[in-house]
Each structure stands twice: as C-alpha cells, then as structure tokens.
C-alpha cells in the first residue's frame, strides 16, 4: 500500500485502542479492535469448552478456546469472517481443535463464496503434543483455504504477533490471497532454532537476532514480495491494510498460479547466489541496504514502495 493511502486512516474506534500495539495485544483484543465496534460474534466460544482432547494426556493445562478464536463481524461496515490465534497459549500452535475451528470457518467461506476471511496469524506451527492431528489440521486448512479462494472468497493474512508465523502457519500464509506484515512479524516455515539444530550454527545462528529479523522479518518479506503490505505495529495500520487487501485481492485461477511460478523462478535466478538478505536488498536497488533494519515505519514503507510494487502472486 502506498504511504498516502495509509495516512488517511479513517478508524471508527477510539484513538487509544486503534493506536495500541498489535504485537502486545491478545488475540481477543486484536479481533475486538480490528473490527467495527461491538460487531464481533464468536463461533464455538469459550463457554462451550471445546478444548484439546490431547493436552490432558500430557497433564498440560487447556484453554477454553484452544488458542483459536473464530467468528464474524464487520470491517468498515462490510461483513467479514475472522480467525485469530493466541500466540501466548502454547506458542499459538495448531492442535486438533485449534485447526478444526479454522477449517470450519474456511469451509463456511467456501460455501458462502463471497465473504472475505481475515486470518490473524500468531503461531510457531504444529503443537508437538498433538503432532499427527496438528499436521492433518494444517493440510485440511490449506485445502479449505484454496477451496474458499476458488469459490471467490478473498483470504487475507495479518502477521505481527509475538510468535510470528512459522511451520504450518507459514505454509497456510503462503496459500492466502494476500498478506500484511509488520516489522515485528516474522514469516517462515522452519524457525531459527530448527534450522540451527538441523544444519548447525554456521548455517544459521538463532541467537543472532539481527540475522533472524533480516532473514524472516516483515521488512525482508515485504521487499522480496512475500507480503503485499508493510503495516505499522498498530491496530489502525492493520485495519487499513486488511481493508485495502480485501479490496485488491486477486482472483484464484490458472494464470495466477502461472504468474506465481514464473515470479518464484525469477526470484531464485536473481537472488539464488546471495549469502545474506542485505545482498538481496542491494541487488533490488537499495543504495544503503545496511540501514534498512533501522528505518522507521514511514521511511521503510516509502522505500519498499519505491523498490518493489506490491504484487499479488507469489509468497
């Protein structure tokens, strides 16, 4: 999104909530403040106590919503379906119930065929205590997401939570019509510690926070075209981004997939020999790529729009 469009924020919520940090907010606060005031209606709310059947086997505490909130509401007066992960409960990880709630929401989107879906990602991936059920959930969600898009429902992902968007969450994000990410958001499949454990510290030092952020963080994802919009860490900015992306989401068809394949091929040809994200930013045309991590939201959003037009195909 261009900076001018972001400037004229027309938020109907009061200033204190819309300016509040997306990163710091709980999943429920994000949903409440993102949507039009008092418009959210939850499906399978916490009072139904649909908790994980697996966690008690490990003597682990449950959460009444299993870390996933699904429902419908209004955004700028228009109806939307929404799902939000609570990143502080078990790292926002996908278990059987957690995943089934999102699958059900996406199947509803497929059947209704016109309502947009917002997914507020905040996840480390699959919950290891329910590994098989969690992996199956990821596959079911991806199928349901693609079916919803084929039926004509835009599915927009918002990434800016403390757990980032990793593992199966990264795969699901890759299936979305479009993504918005903040600087704090990270999108990847294998997380820093997984890479270090499997490939060694020489390959990836998970303690090097600057390396983690410039490899998986929101700025890098925006610059290589993995996310269409770079959002500020505020509810208001994510609200604007969600509205913009719902309006501009591409349709899902063969030519979209071919364009995606073409752009990914170009990306590996262009950047395949780069050793570090800074090399990629330099070859994109950034004159002082080493300064990018320190740029403010506005400076970076302007630079990103200058270097790379938002593209609605490949992640």
């Amino acid at each position: 999104m261009n900076a001018a469009a972001l400037d004229k924020s027309k938020d109907s919520n009061d200033a204190s909530t819309s300016a509040s940090s997306w990163y710091e907010a709980s999943a429920r606060q994000r949903v409440e403040n993102l949507l039009d005031a008092n418009s959210f209606n939850e499906f399978i709310g916490p009072e139904l106590r649909e908790t994980s059947p697996h966690l008690p086997l490990f003597d682990l505490p449950e959460q009444f919503d299993d870390g996933m909130i699904v429902g419908y509401g209004r955004l700028g007066g228009k109806p939307v379906l929404v799902a939000a992960q609570e990143g502080r409960f078990m790292g926002g990880a996908f278990g059987e119930i957690h995943g089934a709630k999102l699958t059900g929401l996406l199947r509803a989107a497929r059947d209704i065929a016109s309502l947009p879906v917002l997914i507020l990602f905040d996840t480390g991936g699959v919950r290891l205590q329910e590994a098989n059920a969690g992996e199956l959930a990821i596959a079911e969600i991806m199928r349901a997401l693609i079916e919803a898009r084929l039926a004509g429902a835009p599915v927009v992902g918002l990434v800016g939570g403390r757990a980032g968007c990793y593992g199966g969450g990264g795969l699901i994000a890759g299936c979305c019509s479009a993504l918005a990410v903040s600087e704090q958001g990270r999108i990847s499949v294998s997380g820093p510690e997984v890479i270090e454990t499997n490939r060694g510290v020489e390959e990836f030092d998970s303690k090097d926070r600057a390396l983690v952020w410039r490899t998986m963080g929101g700025k890098h994802r925006r610059l290589i075209g993995g996310a269409e919009v770079f959002a500020d860490d505020s509810v208001a900015s994510f609200r604007d981004a969600a509205q913009y992306l719902i309006e501009h989401a591409p349709s899902m068809n063969l030519s979209t997939l071919e364009a995606e394949q073409f752009r990914l091929t170009q990306r590996i040809e262009r950047f395949g020999t780069c050793a570090d994200a800074i090399d990629i930013w330099r070859s994109l045309g950034a004159t002082e790529p080493q300064r990018i991590p320190a740029l403010s939201y506005r400076e970076f959003a302007a630079l990103a729009n200058h270097l790379q037009e938002p593209r609605h195909d490949a992640r």
Partner: protein, 105 residues
C-alpha cells in the same frame, strides 16, 4: 493436574447484565478466567484446573478474599491455570468481575 472447586455465599449480585466474559491467557505464570452469570444471586462458584498441584489452601484463601472484596453474586468462574502467583490470580478475578459488570478491561 489438580481440580479444585469452591462455593461461597456473596453479599450482593454482581452488577450489569452481561452473560459472560473471558480474560487472561493460559501461559506460564498466567491464567484465564471465564466468568458466567449462571448462579442464584447469592452464590459464587470458582472452578479451578491447575498445573501446579498442592496449593489448595492458597487458592481457598485467595478465593475467599476475592468474594469478600468484590461480592460477585450469581457468577461462576472457571479457571485454567498455568501456574500463576496468588497476586496474579487475584488481579485476573478482579478483572473478570470488572469486565462482566461493564467496566473497562
């Protein structure tokens, strides 16, 4: 896991008309509290599932103090606890009452 349940008599009915609220999160040192208006106006029930076993006396004291201070008549509180300290528990219970009575959370 340990399951605890306390029933107390409350002086007054909790204000407001909201049917339910949920506050907090199940994480290390934290807890979630689901408050539901499902009991007679003079009753208060607190249902706890906690990962930290053997602290029944502390829970009982915190709950008794809470009911005395806030008088949450008519409310059932269901807690999933991730090992929160007593002061955190007291704050979350107070937050749940404020929320269901319509005050800002």
């Amino acid at each position: 896991m340990e399951t605890l349940n306390y029933r107390n008599k409350a002086q007054q009915r909790a204000k407001g008309s909201k049917r339910q609220v949920i506050v907090g999160v199940v994480a290390s040192g934290n807890l979630e509290v689901l408050a539901e208006r499902v009991l007679p106006d003079t009753d208060c029930e607190v249902d706890i599932r906690t990962a930290a076993e053997g602290f029944g006396e502390v829970w009982q004291a915190v709950v008794a103090d809470f009911v005395e201070r806030r008088s949450p008549g008519g409310l059932k509180f269901s807690i999933n606890d991730g090992g929160a300290r007593p002061d955190t528990v007291a704050l979350r219970l107070a937050q749940a009452v404020s929320a269901i009575e319509g005050e800002r959370t």
